[in-house]
Subunit: 201 residues, 2 copies
DNA sequence: GTCTATACCCCGATAGAC
DNA sequence: GTCTATCGGGGTATAGAC
């Protein structure tokens, strides 16, 4: 069923190096600010290889990179949410992880897909689709945590949306201010909000 | 003190047309996706005029456009916040205004500065400065409303940050989903959060 | 699958006439 | 202040050898 048969002892194959490099560049420079030549350079692949794997050009490549960023961010959410049973504390754990990653990258590595998402609203359907799926995925991860902790499904769903949206906004603010504080404040407020929906208070 | 002496009966002058066109284009296409030639075309000005008024080139022009968008967004916030004394209801009024504007523009006109802000993090100081001032301005507008409604100053300050950040994230989600719902959910959650800080409950 | 060369276009910025 | 012409470089994408 799987057509891929990579060599056993080598590192990531060409296709994967291209996707990874694209994901990182889109995160830091956005779609319009990133060139395919730059991608091929950073991925240590030739331009011919890029178009061999992604005949749809820059848009197809960006859509695949968005899916890569989707998984990356979901992994971070799962790590934070899995650190404790308490749903409110679990969310503040996420804000802490996000703040640390942001500081360590000198405030460069924010959400891996937001910049590209904004640049392509209403003008690149394949990318928009990948973006919409990523956000839905992240909301589902949070919703599952909140519902699993005893919150009614409808509340968990709405709260998950606001959790993701507030994390997005706070991460942007943290990048602009070059400070983890907006994320920490968001963590406290989200925890407080979630607690108002808890059965046992 | 003021060097400007515009003709009395004419419309906006060349400089202002350029700034307005730039602001709209940055809102919809971002910094890297917008060309100076396109700006001069839409502003009905020549390339020479653009560089006459903005010798610092694209960055200086973008910084000025950010300041324009700053005022625009602040005006919308003041309109929403001024619609009622109740601070929680005032915030939901803002989400309603944002949702209407978004829908009317076919989900194109989100926050006027976010895309450019993200694209230029850590790489264009004059733009970053204008962006930081805009966000501080918006937080101050919300903070004043909350403090004026009786919230302690420290609470009002922190809440204002989360209000702005959540509005940013919800607006992004609304553009992606092509739906006002994320903004409405954000409005309900923010109102609920603010209410937990109110003295009289 | 990988590589080079290249077609064709638009970019930001400048020069200098009017 | 306005306008046109142009410079040098980089953009996406393709062709075709190996």
């Amino acid at each position: 069923m799987n057509a891929e048969t990579p060599a056993p002892t080598t590192g990531p194959g060409t296709r994967e190096r291209i996707v990874r490099a694209t994901s990182r560049l889109l995160q830091r420079q956005g779609f319009e600010g990133t060139g395919i030549k730059q991608i091929s350079r950073e991925a240590q692949a030739t331009l011919g290889s890029v178009y061999h794997f992604f005949p749809g050009g820059k848009q197809e490549l960006a859509a695949e990179a968005i899916r890569h960023g989707d998984q990356e961010f979901a992994d971070l959410l799962r790590e934070g949410l899995g650190s404790t049973d308490d749903p409110a504390l679990a969310i503040t754990a996420c804000t802490r992880l996000l703040g640390e990653a942001l500081r360590e990258s000198d405030w460069q590595d924010g959400c891996p897909i937001t910049t590209t998402a904004l640049e392509t609203v209403g003008r690149a359907p394949v990318i928009e689709q990948a973006v919409a799926e990523a956000f839905a995925h992240w909301r589902a991860v949070v919703e599952e945590k909140l519902h699993g902790a005893g919150l009614p499904l409808a509340d968990a769903r709405d709260l998950a949306a606001t959790v993701i949206n507030t994390l997005e906004g706070a991460e942007l603010a943290a990048q602009i201010a070059r400070s983890e504080e907006p994320l920490h404040v968001a963590g406290r407020h989200l925890a407080r909000l979630v607690d108002t929906y808890r059965p046992g208070r």
